[in-house]
């Protein structure tokens, strides 16, 4: 914050208002504090497009959040709610006078209902915390490979492509009752919370399902207010009550009990054959996780240092052994017999589809050290290992078959702009979800971490996205998530007027992390 702003009467009035609402200790406007709220590995920070907020506030509970949001409306200043603050993505201020609503005082697990299998959490509660409590009770909640350090609520509204989502539904389909403070300061309770603020077991209604405002493909990015409490589904878990770990940082391994969990690594001649295998596994309605990871993921997650990353990469250990390989983890949810049954089915499918096991030594390198990150992640942030950052091309949710075309187009683009894109061996992440009813494709690659290189690539990505929009978005969704993207893509699908209408109705002063979830400012 500038000295000018600090001396500003208006600044002082807002500060007084916040302090009066939630206590002086819970409000900061000093340079050293606000400076910690706009960093990230992502382009806005690297390109200098982000700026420190004017205030950081730490509310405790829904009523204090409401009070803050009302003050933001009174003074027409933007706010951004943040959860555990793992990566910022769109949580970095991009306009002056922003208020960061940091949830560090809102980390409770209100309830774990074992019988009805759901938990009620506050925004700071991480997936790792929720997992630990669920395991103790023989229950499970997933985590995306981007990290279990993410907020449980944040992880559920934003995409939520956890590995076990293949079997249990991706995270955004696991949201039940929600309590949230709308951008205008009104408190909204959905599902069973609307009848009983302490009871979140049911997610629908009343009336139209308002959870759609919040989640969608990549969440609302803080553009529709702030969730203060959410009920999330838990699932039966056949694993141990404490997650098994051997070894030390940075070489820990994790092996789940063999009578309930079994990883297979199966290699195919072509990507088409690999995806065909994924379809067949889905058709048989077996397995807990099925993923075709790009070779670059193997090395990112597996390596324990920069030196090991690039040394092993140059030896082509993974490129030569896991190209077109699919990882499948079978879960004996109900019994060891279930696992035995699924093994027999899977082995038949492997035979019928011409799959070959990945070399045992490579499977042994990968499975104990990293595969279980798709069940409980701990190494997702290793994606920065190669060069300090990475970028993603398009994200695609469509059929599994279409994911092939999607990632192939990605190869071409990546090749065209290498360098500054670094070696990545045709990155092709294809995930199977809902027993293969849909597939997810993503193209991630390491890149030289310089403002020039990133700036140049961001320009090219934007160009590509514009072109994609003109082509009817047949190639997937670009990496420009949130409001601006909806403004570009909305007209293609005809949902822009709906989003715009919602934003106008609930955020008349445009204070909830503009331009998300739809730009309505002049």
């Amino acid at each position: 914050m500038t000295a000018k702003a600090k001396n500003d009467d208006r600044h002082q009035q807002i500060l007084n208002a916040f302090q009066s609402a939630i206590g002086a200790d819970n409000v900061r406007d000093n340079p050293a504090t606000v400076n910690a709220y706009f960093g990230d590995f992502l382009p806005p920070k690297i390109l200098g497009m982000s700026m420190p907020p004017e205030f950081v506030v730490l509310p405790n509970g829904t009523m204090e959040v409401q009070a803050i949001i009302k003050i933001c409306n009174r003074y027409k200043i933007p706010f951004i709610p943040v959860g555990s603050n793992q990566w910022s993505l769109t949580g970095s201020p991009n306009r002056p006078h922003t208020v960061i609503i940091d949830c560090k005082r809102m980390g409770k697990i209100h309830e774990i209902d074992e019988k009805n299998m759901y938990a009620v959490v506050e925004p700071l509660c991480t997936l790792a915390q929720m997992q630990a409590e669920a395991y103790k009770r023989g229950l499970y909640i997933g985590s995306p490979e981007a990290s279990a350090t993410a907020s449980c609520i944040g992880g559920h509204v934003f995409q939520g492509m956890w590995g076990v989502g293949y079997r249990l539904g991706v995270a955004y389909r696991n949201i039940l009752g929600v309590e949230w403070v709308l951008p205008n300061g009104e408190i909204l309770r959905t599902g069973s919370f609307s009848q009983d603020a302490d009871n979140g077991f049911w997610g629908e209604g009343p009336g139209p399902d308002l959870r759609g405002m919040l989640r969608g493909y990549a969440g609302a990015m803080g553009g529709v207010g702030m969730v203060t409490k959410m009920a999330v589904k838990l699932h039966p878990y056949p694993g141990p009550k404490v997650w098994p770990v051997e070894g030390m940082i940075p070489n820990q391994t994790s092996v789940l009990p063999e009578d309930r969990f079994k990883w297979y690594m199966v290699k195919y001649e072509s990507l088409e054959d690999a995806v065909n295998f994924m379809y067949e596994v889905g058709r048989a309605e077996i397995a807990g996780v099925i993923q075709k990871w790009p070779t670059v993921y193997y090395i990112m997650w597996w390596s324990n240092s920069c030196e090991q990353y690039w040394t092993e990469w140059q030896k082509r250990t993974f490129q030569d052994n896991v190209k077109n390989a699919v990882g499948v983890c079978l879960w004996g949810f109900s019994s060891g017999k279930q696992l035995e049954y699924e093994k027999r089915v899977l082995e038949d499918i492997i035979k019928e589809t011409g799959g070959k096991p990945v070399k045992q030594e490579v499977q042994d390198m990968w499975v104990p050290r990293q595969a279980n990150n798709w069940i409980r992640d701990t190494h997702g942030s290793r994606m920065m290992r190669a060069s300090g950052t990475f970028l993603a091309l398009r994200l695609q949710t469509d059929t599994l078959k279409y994911a092939i075309d999607h990632v192939r187009q990605g190869y071409e683009w990546v090749d065209k702009f290498s360098p500054p894109i670094l070696d990545s061996d045709g990155p092709d992440w294809i995930g199977g979800y809902d027993f293969g009813h849909f597939g997810f494709g993503e193209t991630d690659f390491p890149v030289e971490k310089t403002p020039e290189a990133i700036g140049d690539l961001m320009g090219k990505l934007l160009e590509m996205t514009k072109q994609d929009v003109q082509n009817g978005l047949e190639n997937g969704i670009g990496p420009f998530l949130g409001g601006v993207y909806h403004a570009m893509a909305g007209p293609v699908f005809g949902y822009d007027r709906l989003l715009k209408g919602i934003k106008k109705a609930i955020d008349p002063n445009v204070v909830s992390n503009p331009p998300h979830n739809f730009p309505i400012e002049n």
Binding site: N35, G39, D40
Partner: protein
């Protein structure tokens, strides 16, 4: 012919510049590559065993704002180095930098996902802060004491020898005059604290009993330099560290044995960076005594019926070895546990956060003298965790941990005994 691989142009992404001196450039590199992944704030996800004990950083847990975390310190370092902020711009910078107990919890979790040395970056930041703003007033007595008396406790040099007085009959060697293979280096706190000096007396008795050829430096022992090093007063640290290495080399000892985790971490890790080379091995007393226990040279005869939990001192554990990217974060973890398990009657139960995931006692990094309330709050958190194990006693082997845990426990409704491992051993011999 395969296409040539495109590797990063910056060689620091190919191999972490471990050997490069820790200067502004290195600090900037570490800060610039913070990805705000927040692993510095939490226990590594695979190791989280409950919602209650999921955090790793005492400072961030207490003060909540991200500025008071590893990530926030990276943001601060970058702002300072890039000229966007000055040390004097905000009084809170002092708290952000110096409340931290330098426990290395963030550092260890960070090392799981990238090559970096956060605690060394904090030390560099503290040193730079002091160059511009001067030492913290709260640390001035400690610094003056180091300069005047070569110890941290404002005690005259001659008092340093007082703990050996009751051992006169044992005939312990004075290594200023005699030769021995092993130097028992008591450290300022064990050596000078009335409350704690019994521990080092017990150690000497045990060593003597099993016939170890050892001696002490008596009143010529200097501080290891740890308090100066951790608080960023590097010139004073270098003076003491260099003098110690020279002295130990001259004496020709093979092993420097210390019971203090602070001295141990400093000698094992920080001394490696000094120009003077060490011709001796540094061991924590637990490492040495575990060897003797395994060799059956130490035999426990008496039963001590008690349920205990072991508190891993940070500088004996995750901060007790020089960093090698990609290698395990080794430390003295197993040795004290093995000793405890070999004492008849002792039942060892573990807290949730142990070994490289241990929650700090709160007493390190200058927090004990500079930020007492916070230091004791941190200790209370640890005591609560220990109580949850069902143990009635916390056993540890660091005078700072013991002192701070005891201070933190004052006023707590349910008392917990804080006992040094060597005192417990003595009860069983």
């Amino acid at each position: 012919m395969a296409k040539e691989m495109l590797l990063p142009k910056d060689p620091r992404y190919l191999k972490y510049p471990l050997e490069a001196p820790f200067d502004q450039e290195k600090a900037r590199w570490i800060a610039f590559n913070c990805s705000r992944c927040s692993v510095c704030k939490w226990v590594n996800s695979w190791q989280v065993k409950s919602a209650k004990y999921a955090r790793i950083c005492p400072q961030h847990t207490k003060y909540l704002y991200d500025s008071h975390s590893g990530q926030g310190k990276c943001d601060l370092a970058l702002a300072i180095i890039d000229g966007k902020m000055k040390w004097g711009d905000d009084p809170e910078i002092k708290d952000i930098l110096f409340q931290c107990t330098m426990c290395g919890g963030c550092d260890a979790m960070d090392k799981n996902i990238r090559d970096a040395e956060l605690v060394k970056m904090y030390r560099w930041m503290r040193a730079e802060y002091i160059k511009e703003m001067g030492p913290l007033p709260e640390h001035k007595p400690m610094l003056d004491s180091l300069k005047q008396y070569d110890n941290v406790w404002l005690q005259p040099r001659m008092k340093r020898n007082s703990w050996t007085k009751e051992l006169k009959d044992l005939g312990i060697k004075d290594l200023n005059k005699e030769k021995a293979e092993v130097l028992l280096f008591a450290g300022c706190t064990y050596g000078l604290s009335e409350e704690l000096k019994g521990t080092v007396v017990n150690i000497a008795k045990i060593l003597k009993k099993v016939g170890v050829d050892f001696g002490t430096l008596g009143d010529k022992e200097l501080c290891c330099g740890s308090p100066a090093e951790k608080t960023g007063n590097l010139a004073e640290y270098e003076r003491l560290g260099t003098a110690n290495i020279k002295k130990f080399n001259e004496m020709g000892v093979k092993i420097v044995l210390t019971p203090c985790a602070g001295c141990y971490g400093t000698m094992r890790v920080a001394y490696e960076e000094l120009p003077e080379k060490m011709n001796f091995e540094v061991l924590h007393v637990t490492e040495y005594l575990e060897r003797l226990t395994n060799d059956k040279k130490i035999k426990f005869k008496k039963e001590v019926p008690v349920t205990v939990t072991w508190h891993d001192p940070c500088h004996m554990g995750r901060m007790g070895r020089p960093y090698v990217p990609g290698k395990d974060l080794l430390g003295v973890y197993e040795e004290p546990r093995n000793i405890l398990k070999s004492i008849p009657g002792v039942e060892l139960v573990e807290m949730e956060r142990i070994r490289e995931y241990a929650w700090c006692c709160g007493g390190g990094g200058g927090a004990f003298s500079g930020f007492k309330d916070f230091a004791q709050w941190t200790a209370r958190e640890r005591i609560e965790e220990a109580k949850d194990t069902g143990a009635s006693m916390i056993v540890t082997s660091c005078p700072w941990c013991e002192t701070n845990l005891r201070a933190g426990g004052i006023g707590m409704e349910e008392k917990m005994e804080i006992v040094d491992l060597f005192d417990l051993m003595m009860q069983a011999l």
